[in-house]
């Protein structure tokens, strides 16, 4: 796996170093399409996480899911995990619709088998797996329709830019692509499969699914919009609006969660929303002929694809380490782990600051590009720039969300005995996290390293007429470096000053003051749920939280419990009831299916005759 990853990264580097697009196209055994693969800067951007994250995940998995500890499913996980990584690379380089769909389907199924490795032991895993399987195939269905339309319009499955296309057909292809790819990426309201599947999968699989596989949906949207002719402004508007809703609702749901991996999954939805906002800005810029908006929007979105794959994998690895140590996913049962797992605590803090898009880490660099783009759109009307306010709200909510996780899991006192035997995991689990954290810092402080690739990817996405603007000219990334370095320098100086100062002072230690209360217990601490309660209340109109109040009667009330949950409004209130309804009425159709081959052949004959007659009448 590691060798494959290194080879892949080197390959991407050399193919881009050559300058021209590398491609290969040979006919194959299937009646449709060709085996056509190619790599351009756009594909290269998405290939980098495909080659990095799964490799780190496999190293992490050595400790997290070791073969001797999981004799039943270790082999199944290994095979499907490798297939998942390989098929994602094929999805990105495929230059033919049929090949793309095959790779896409292999990816979807491999992800299913990897995510449900524990299905024999756990019913939740099974259920999440089914939801995923159904959702992903609904998406694939849209993609089938999209590629069929593409073929009938352009005459082949080849994924080459279509120069002329009627606007209705192009619009239909865009919408089908948005639904099909949006299902995989987790755009709301198509995200239903995502929280369950991410929460129940082994942590390194969650990291790959969230950090890389969701980006395949993004890649699909990027690629299909690159191939379509320049569309009307509503494409960009729709994507921007969907992105803003996805972002705000995603992070609001995240705040309401008690399960650390579900929370991270919802935060992935939020980040996909942010990426979609960047793409929407780029599409709007393309429709309006504004090269600066295209460049800033697309560069911001693509850089955020990298960034999210870095910090989200880091956080999922970290969550895995926590679960390994405490054997629970309930955050409100944790607490005080920073003392027992200092390495993990520091790494989590890095990931949390990065995911909140705070300087000087990488999330800020990509969001900053989008912000500059959104503010620049002010020069032609102000509607688009409103998205900057949505982005700011997402940022503030993300800070609330991740302070909640950091505080509940790592800080304070242990809330239960779950963390009694917690300790930092072995080096093979810490190592990948350290690599990812260093990546976050590197991209955060030196974002201009990525600028040439992003500019070339923008060039691939849309031929900008006239001279290519440089990102540096629109948004001076070198200042991000200057500010990042001065921040690090000042912090270093402050830490040094603190060290000198604390040497000459008497430092007493005692219990937390707690306003004079002498006997505080760990259970009196603010829990994650109470921390987020006001915000959940403010967003009750989209979250619909459920609270189960205890019944308190009499002077000496009986022992009782309070419980609050934030179920997924779309899945639990819309999709599941709808499927229940279908399940109730559609079984009547089963009378058609009684297992006799002769009857089935009769059906076929009848349908062929009907079609034949229909064709005859039509002619």
């Amino acid at each position: 796996m590691a060798i494959g990853g290194v080879l892949g990264v080197v390959g991407v580097g050399t193919s881009l170093g050559g300058g021209s697009e590398t491609s290969l196209s040979v006919p194959w055994f299937l009646p449709w399409g060709r085996f056509a693969v190619g790599i351009d800067a756009l594909a290269a951007v998405f290939l980098v996480p495909v080659f990095i994250v799964p490799v780190l995940g496999s190293i992490y998995g050595l400790g997290y899911w070791s073969q001797p500890e999981h004799p039943d499913n270790g082999r199944r996980l290994g095979v499907s995990y490798g297939l998942l990584a390989g098929s994602m690379a094929l999805v990105v380089i495929a230059r033919d619709g049929a090949l793309f769909l095959i790779a896409w389907e292999v990816m979807a199924l491999a992800a299913y088998f990897a995510a449900t490795a524990e299905e024999h032991e756990n019913a939740d895993v099974r259920r999440a797996g089914w939801v995923y399987l159904i959702a992903t195939h609904i998406g694939t269905l849209c993609l089938l329709a999209m590629f069929a339309l593409w073929r009938s319009e352009t005459g082949s499955f080849a994924l080459a830019p279509a120069l002329v296309m009627s606007s209705e057909v192009a619009g239909t292809i865009f919408v089908l692509g948005l639904i099909g790819f949006g299902c995989k990426a987790g755009l709301m309201p198509l995200h239903v499969w995502l929280p369950g599947a991410h929460a129940n999968a082994p942590s390194h699989v969650s990291a790959v699914m969230s950090g890389v596989m969701l980006k395949m949906g993004i890649y699909g949207i990027v690629r299909i919009t690159a191939l379509l002719p320049v569309g009307p402004t509503w494409w960009g508007g729709v994507l921007l609006a969907v992105g803003a809703v996805t972002g705000v609702a995603g992070i609001a749901y995240a705040i309401g969660q008690h399960d650390i991996k579900r929370l991270l999954a919802y935060s992935s939805i939020e980040n996909v929303g942010i990426i979609a906002m960047g793409l929407g800005l780029a599409l709007l810029g393309r429709a309006q002929g504004r090269g600066d908006l295209v460049l800033l929007g697309l560069a911001g979105a693509l850089l955020h694809v990298w960034n999210h794959s870095l910090f989200k994998s880091l956080l999922f690895f970290n969550a895995g380490a926590i679960i390994h140590a405490t054997h629970t996913r309930e955050m409100d049962r944790m607490g005080g782990l920073a003392k027992r797992m200092p390495w993990c605590a520091a790494l989590f803090a890095v990931g949390a600051v990065a995911i909140c898009a705070l300087p000087p880490l990488n999330g800020f660099a990509s969001e900053w590009l989008m912000y500059v783009g959104l503010f620049r759109s002010l020069s032609s009307g102000g509607e688009v720039a409103m998205a900057a306010v949505a982005l700011a709200t997402i940022g503030a909510l993300a800070v609330a969300c991740f302070v909640q996780v950091l505080g509940t899991v790592y800080l304070g006192e242990p809330r239960s005995d779950a963390g009694d035997h917690a300790y930092d995991p072995q080096a093979s689990m810490i190592g990948p996290m350290v690599v990812l954290a260093c990546g976050c810092a590197a991209v955060g402080v030196f974002p201009m390293m990525a600028a040439p690739l992003l500019e070339r990817a923008t060039q691939d996405w849309m031929d900008l007429s006239g001279p290519v603007p440089a990102i540096e000219a629109l948004a001076p990334l070198r200042w991000i470096t200057v500010m990042g370095l001065s921040f690090v320098g000042l912090i270093g100086a402050a830490v040094l000053a603190w060290k000198m100062l604390s040497r000459s002072r008497t430092i007493g230690t005692t219990g937390t003051w707690d306003c004079g209360y002498a006997q505080p217990t760990a259970r009196m601490q603010y829990t994650g749920s109470s921390f987020g309660d006001t915000l959940v209340g403010l967003f009750a109109f989209i979250l619909w939280p459920k609270k189960y109040w205890p019944e308190v009667r009499g002077v000496l009330a009986r022992r009782s419990r309070f419980r609050s949950v934030v179920p997924d409004a779309i899945l639990d209130r819309l999709v599941v009831p709808a499927f229940d309804l279908v399940g109730k009425y559609l079984p009547r159709l089963r009378m058609l299916q009684q297992g006799q081959t002769q009857v089935y052949v009769l059906y076929v004959l009848a349908i062929v005759i009907v079609l034949y007659m229909w064709g005859a009448i039509g002619a």
């Binding site: 909140c356 503010f375 102000g382 991740f402 505080g407 790592y410 800080l411 402050a494 937390t512």
Partner: protein, 302 residues
């Protein structure tokens, strides 16, 4: 160069005076003589000499809170221009960094509060992050208005307005965002009616309750950083309220210092004549600020 040095000196030295002025104003309203104007300087000097007590529960995050806050607020201060002078650091898109530096400070302040494991401090940090979710959109609407009116993306040029001053059509939106920004300033610096810095009831506080366990030099750093934050946000607000300049450098510096003092008096007056809002009513005030800034934005793009 000289301007930058003067500004950095003012930025680092003047902030504690603002709290002295506010306290003096409040004392006058209450018919008392009040503390000396330079009380906070004395307090800081005393705190920096003291030892400190740490809770057994805390980790490095507890110390990172004040340290990171101080560094971020100083960096944010370097992005803001004083009077007609350019800010020490200015580049396209620095306004985003300005807003996000405060986010970074908030992250570590609230995390440090949770590090103590006390329910009171948990409450404080929960309130802080919750209210920030409402003041952040207000802040960004205000920044959008300023960017639209001035047509630039650097904080320095934005606050100075276009050459020849703000156009007449921008007056109404600027008034709207000035009120909105004032509310944000009160909320972010934890003044009445959002928070009461002098209260002794831990249940009702936001900022003070988050720093209950910090003592000695750490508390000094926190108090100093809080006053710096007020200075920085105040400098932004002053550009919107009084875009006046004399053209003579020394007079402009004097004017800036006087304006800043007047702002502190205004905050003192607000604190004296108003009662603190009930905690559950604070979101309404912040939403009102957001609406004002939002309407300001709509006025400017219509």
């Amino acid at each position: 160069m000289l301007e930058r040095l003067i500004y950095i000196a003012l930025l680092l030295i003047m902030p504690p005076l603002l709290l002295g002025i506010i306290n003096r104003t409040k004392a006058r309203f209450a018919g008392r003589t009040g503390q000396p104007l330079f009380q906070l300087y004395y307090d800081l000097a005393k705190l920096m000499r003291k030892g400190l007590v740490l809770s057994n529960t805390t980790t490095w995050v507890f110390i990172a809170g004040p340290v990171v806050t101080l560094v971020t607020v100083v960096l944010a201060g370097l992005l803001v221009p004083a009077g007609p002078f350019a800010s020490p650091i200015s580049f396209t898109g620095d306004l985003i960094l300005f807003a996000y530096l405060f986010g970074l400070a908030r992250f570590f302040t609230t995390a440090a509060a949770l590090d103590t494991g006390s329910a009171f401090e948990g409450m404080g940090s929960a309130r802080e992050v919750t209210f920030a979710c409402l003041s952040e959109p207000a802040m960004f609407f205000a920044l959008l208005v300023l960017a639209k009116v001035s047509g630039t993306l650097t904080l320095s040029e934005m606050l100075h307005g276009p050459a020849g001053g703000f156009p007449a059509s921008a007056v109404a939106p600027l008034v709207f965002i000035a009120i909105g920004l004032f509310v944000v300033l009160l909320a972010e610096t934890c003044r009445i009616p959002v928070d009461d810095p002098n209260t002794h009831l831990e249940l009702t506080m936001i900022h003070e309750v988050m720093v209950l366990d910090h003592s000695g030099p750490l508390l000094g750093v926190i108090l100093y950083a809080a006053s710096l934050k007020m200075f920085v946000l105040g400098a932004v607000l002053l550009h919107v309220i009084v875009p006046i300049q004399t053209g003579m450098a020394w007079a402009d510096w004097a004017l800036f210092v006087i304006e800043m003092g007047a702002l502190a008096v205004a905050i003192g007056v607000v604190e004296s004549v108003m009662a603190r809002l009930q905690m559950r009513h604070v979101p309404y005030l912040l939403v009102a600020a957001m609406l004002l800034c939002g309407f300001g934005f709509i006025l400017v793009v219509r």
